[in-house]
Symmetry: C2
DNA sequence: TTAACATATGAACAATTGCTCATATGAAGA
DNA sequence: TCTTCATATGAGCAATTGTTCATATGTTAA
């Protein structure tokens, strides 16, 4: 460990910035949202749900993945409250449950397109 | 592989949504940005640079990590053009090089705080 | 030149991740 | 009931990741 707790270059700037840093909980929460969208399969799932709800099998076709792989990733997105589901007989329909995530995705989509 | 290419539940909905999906390159690029921000250490680095530039050693103090760990992560952020650096003698100052990333972070910060 | 310092980098390692495969669950129809 | 279908889940595995440690690079001052 070479953390320079007292020999840092610019103590004043460090203290200034440390005041503006979000606390640990908020930082972890932010990282978790970004992590949810950092996997191409999960990102595609959320992208596929932007316009309308879909069942697991249809999401699998859209994302070109197996039903099982999609189901695993949907569980992660469900746990993070990014998507929600409703049952209709044998079929489970998934839809987006977090408006903020939609904003994040649209913003990043603008980013890569401009 | 159990991808149901012809036996999917709702072919019409699938086709509708597939038209709206970003292409593979854009999707990967989006995922890469989210991935960059998905690690707490990298996220903290970017957060620490929101208000002003900092040298590696100061970032290490702010993020409570070793200089080496920070240097490794800064290289990743540099490769992705999220941060840039300038040398001043022995010291290397890092700052943010991507306005879109700032917007994404501010948006997600709003999210976790409300 | 040599020493000291700030940063960068490569190898190694543990930990995490995403997928596959097999199996389980739950609902509808025969 | 039994079968079929849609989805869920657990174990196992290969691949990726973030950190540490040792060492290298590049800059300044003696």
């Amino acid at each position: 460990m070479d953390i320079c707790s007292d020999k840092c270059i610019n103590e004043k700037k460090v203290k200034q910035t440390m005041k503006t840093m979000p606390d640990q909980d908020d930082t972890i929460q932010m990282a978790d949202i970004f992590k949810a969208l950092s996997d191409p399969t999960r990102l595609k799932i959320v992208l596929s749900l932007l316009s309308q709800e879909h069942c697991v099998c249809d999401i699998a076709v859209i994302c070109q993945q197996t039903d099982s792989a999609i189901s695993h990733q949907l569980r992660i997105l469900r746990t993070l409250k990014i998507v929600k589901n409703r049952r209709e007989g044998k079929i489970m329909y998934y839809s987006i449950d977090d408006a903020h995530v939609v904003s994040l995705i649209k913003m990043s989509l603008d980013h890569v397109r401009h």
